[in-house]
């Protein structure tokens, strides 16, 4: 197996190199057979990486401890499910997974574009293959997944207990899928720059890739947050750790990109900006990997010093430099005749939404790199913690939420104050009333009041928009209200999918604000039978039970929760002890309701005194963060769904592109 895997990786590298040569030569000399051969090489390279992945998975399942990787990250007693997930439990496996996803996406892109985009596609595929060569180079020469141990180990060292969790099993693949699929739009942007086909064909052809990437980045971030919430046992879900920031920054930039491409499609503006954004997004995915692997920045997750840092940094610098050079070279061709006409226009709202999103990304970047920068400049290492990120991002988030309500409803080009008043009167009143109700209910923090008002305002605008659409359909097509709603969304899935995502964002935002402001924490050491009070709940500690499997030892406490004297739940927080690697871990008990989460951690047991320490968090509305995530995912699926009208538009734009030569392409405006 190891031999097959190693061989497959070597062949994949050779095939990837060949595909670049064939693509570039084929495109320059217009040799269709050579381009076809390049496509076949890409499919073969994808097959080879697949073989390597299969070989590693089989070795993991068979517990082949002659392999260093298998011995380092699994053990005999590890459950089968985690033997498979150990594929991304270690560095070599993670890189292999990354490469595999890249090869799959490249193969799919090659298939999609076998007749489309004859000019851009060969260069885009060559770009993707060049990225793959970097990763394959690492896997073949630097950090090899199929290295053997000198002597076969009797048992492996097991997977880190923190990773033996359902969310950790699905979080890295989601995030990687998001990271890697961002390279497809990036490659097409590069292709557009190289060939000079700078109309929006590259954006339209990769729009679904961009949404796909955003979808998985969203899920990856949420899964990671959920993992932190359930496993790390500190009652929160986000700590602004460098590793978290590394996943968050590409998400922010992709969000900005998805919005600003709409301006280019509609108004033929912001071309340079869009090309820069997608370059940034791709650069940040590499930067994220660099941070987590290099040990430059100390993180509590500390993936630490693996020696890969310099390679990633070099690759990152090369990519950024080449891309920036291409962009500057093409600047003269990227001038746009259109310009912003009024602050009261959708373009302007989108422009400011972009500035804020990129501003947040920059603040996160700055805060993450601050220790390194301060050490380089002033010679002292100064860190900024969560308070920094909170103080910077909180006001920016409010601005973003406001624009989320404002932008989608305001007219393109310019809008009169009269029409603004008409459109926004009822949502604005709804927002103010919500804020007033919250004030009457006793909330006094200005931020919370603003957040609730703006959230209600956004929901109001979305309701207005849905009502308008449904009303128009009922009037024109004479449909019943539910049928009109379904058809409205189906016929304009991109737009209404977007609104549904916005609803999810508001839900998540309210959940985040409420859980940040109103979390209460109680720490208590108690004897068996003792009661203690947490908010409206009374908790009684009833005793502890210890169970044992060959893999893990579990001490589980029983806590009866009462409210108004009535028992409502039995909670079972536990401490686990993983035998193979001699590590403890915490299993928290969570009782989640839409109103609040009761979160109980078994924080410690003292053998001498018999005292058991519990740490209990009562977090209001955190449920809505996860619910909002589900709604965002649902909306994204709707927005991604293939749409007949859009296909026709792409076909038309490609036909138009084929008719105009690239050399002196007139700047076409689409109405």
């Amino acid at each position: 197996m190891p031999l097959i895997g190693q061989l497959a990786l070597a062949l994949a590298l050779i095939l990837a190199v060949y595909s670049i040569i064939a693509n570039v030569v084929g495109a320059r000399r217009s040799i269709p057979t050579l381009l076809a051969s390049a496509r076949h090489a890409i499919w073969a390279y994808c097959a080879m990486v697949t073989v390597a992945v299969a070989a590693l998975v089989i070795s993991l399942l068979r517990s082949d401890f002659s392999l260093e990787y298998v011995a380092s990250y699994t053990s005999y007693s590890l459950p089968t499910f985690y033997k498979i997930t150990a594929l991304w439990g270690g560095q070599q496996g993670s890189l292999l997974l990354w490469t595999w996803l890249l090869s799959l996406f490249t193969a799919i892109a090659a298939f999609q574009n076998r007749r489309r985009n004859p000019e851009i596609a060969p260069y885009a595929l060559a770009t993707l293959a060049a990225v793959a060569i970097f990763f394959l180079g690492m896997l073949n020469f630097v950090t090899r997944p199929f290295d053997m141990l000198a002597a076969v180990a009797r048992d492996g060292q097991d997977l880190n207990p923190l990773l033996q969790n359902y969310w950790m099993a699905i979080h890295p693949p989601s995030l990687y899928t998001g990271y890697v699929s961002a390279s497809v739009p990036f490659a097409f942007a590069s292709g557009a720059l190289i060939t000079g086909r700078l109309d929006d064909a590259w954006i339209r052809s990769t729009r679904r890739w961009a949404i796909f990437s955003w979808f998985f980045l969203t899920l990856g971030n949420l899964f990671g947050a959920r993992w932190a919430y359930e496993v790390l046992g500190w009652g929160g879900y986000w700590a602004w750790d460098p590793v978290e920031n590394a996943a968050f920054m590409p998400w922010l930039v992709m969000t900005a990109y998805l919005h600003s491409v709409m301006i280019q499609e509609r108004k033929d503006m912001l071309k340079v900006w869009n090309l820069a954004l997608i370059g940034m997004a791709f650069g940040l995915t590499l930067f994220g990997t660099f941070i987590t692997r290099s040990g430059v920045i100390s993180s509590v997750h500390s993936f630490t010093q693996s020696g890969l840092g310099p390679y990633f940094l070099t690759f990152l610098i090369v990519v950024v430099a080449v891309y920036a050079a291409l962009l500057i070279w093409r600047l003269p061709k990227l001038r746009s005749p259109a310009e912003f006409e009024s602050y009261l226009s959708r373009e302007a709202a989108f422009l400011f939404n972009n500035l804020i999103l990129v501003g947040i990304a920059f603040a996160v970047f700055w805060g993450t790199l601050f220790p390194v920068l301060s050490e380089a400049v002033r010679g002292v290492k100064i860190t900024v913690g969560p308070p920094f990120f909170d103080t910077v991002n909180a006001p920016l988030a409010l601005g973003l939420i406001f624009l989320m309500g404002f932008g989608p409803l305001i007219a393109w080009r310019r809008s009169s104050l009269d029409s603004l008043a008409k459109t926004f009167a009822s949502p604005a009143i709804f927002g103010l009333v919500t804020g007033a109700c919250a004030f009457v209910a006793g909330l006094r923090q200005w931020y919370v009041l603003a957040a609730l008002s703006l959230g209600a305002f956004v929901l109001g605008t979305i309701v207005v928009e849905f009502r308008r659409g449904v009303g128009a359909r009922r009037h024109l097509v004479h449909e019943s209200a539910p049928a009109a709603l379904v058809n409205l969304v189906a016929k304009n899935n991109r737009r209404y999918g977007g609104y549904i995502i916005h609803i999810g964002v508001v839900m998540a935002f309210v959940g985040i604000v409420a859980s940040s402001f109103f979390r209460t924490e109680i720490k208590k050491s108690v004897h068996e039978g003792e009661f203690f009070q947490v908010g409206p709940y009374s908790l009684q500690y009833l005793g502890i039970e210890t169970t044992e499997t060959p893999h893990v030892e579990t001490s589980r406490a029983r806590i009866e929760v009462r409210r108004d004297g009535k028992p409502i739940a039995m909670m079972l927080p536990a401490k686990l002890f993983f035998k193979r690697n001699q590590q403890p871990a915490t299993a928290v008990a969570i009782r989640s309701t839409p109103a609040a989460d009761l979160y109980v951690v078994l924080a410690g047991m003292d053998d001498q005194t018999g005292l058991v320490t519990f740490q209990v968090f009562l977090t209001p509305l955190v449920f809505w963060l996860w619910a909002g995530g589900v709604v965002m995912a649902f909306g994204t699926v709707i927005a991604m769904w293939p749409n007949v009208r859009e296909r026709a538009a792409i076909a038309a734009s490609l036909r138009a592109a084929a008719e105009t030569p690239a050399v002196d392409e007139p700047l076409r405006r689409r109405a």
Partner: protein
């Protein structure tokens, strides 16, 4: 005023506002991140400052009171050759190495806390050289941690 300029001003103001937010936030929230020896070297200047101190728990100094949730221990500079965060390993504390006492009140003892473990202590240094910690973070052994030699062949 030309439209281009009008928008450049608006965007410029936005960028300036974000920059202002970042600068003030850095000023208000920055903490020194130091190792034990660095704290020792500039102890007088750091009096009362918010610090993050990286060091290693000195075996035999740990006092944990579960009833009051008070954890007290000493931290010292790890030997240079393995400054990287790592798992438990035997430490020889060289005589004369700086040791700071840490007191952390009202927090449960972290799971991974153990003698010889690398920790990051977040808190203030008082006049007697005691660190009043708000938080003690144990660096969790990474999933990419380098293997300990021989561990695989146990």
């Amino acid at each position: 005023m030309p439209k281009k300029l009008r928008f450049a001003i608006g965007a410029g103001l936005m960028v300036a506002a974000i920059a202002y937010l970042i600068v003030t936030a850095v000023r208000n929230t920055a903490e020194y991140y130091l190792t034990v020896s660095e704290v020792k070297a500039q102890q007088a200047a750091l009096d009362g400052q918010m610090l993050r101190v990286a060091g290693r728990v000195v075996p035999g100094t740990i006092a944990w009171n579960p009833a009051t949730l008070t954890l007290a221990f000493g931290i010292t500079q790890p030997p240079a050759q393995d400054a990287a965060p790592s798992g438990v390993r035997p430490v020889a504390i060289t005589a004369g190495g700086a040791v700071f006492h840490v007191i952390c009140r009202g927090q449960p003892k972290p799971d991974m806390f153990a003698p010889g473990r690398d920790v990051i202590v977040e808190g203030r240094l008082d006049r007697d050289g005691v660190i009043e910690a708000r938080q003690v973070l144990t660096s969790c052994p990474s999933k990419y941690a380098p293997k300990q030699p021989g561990a695989a062949a146990q």
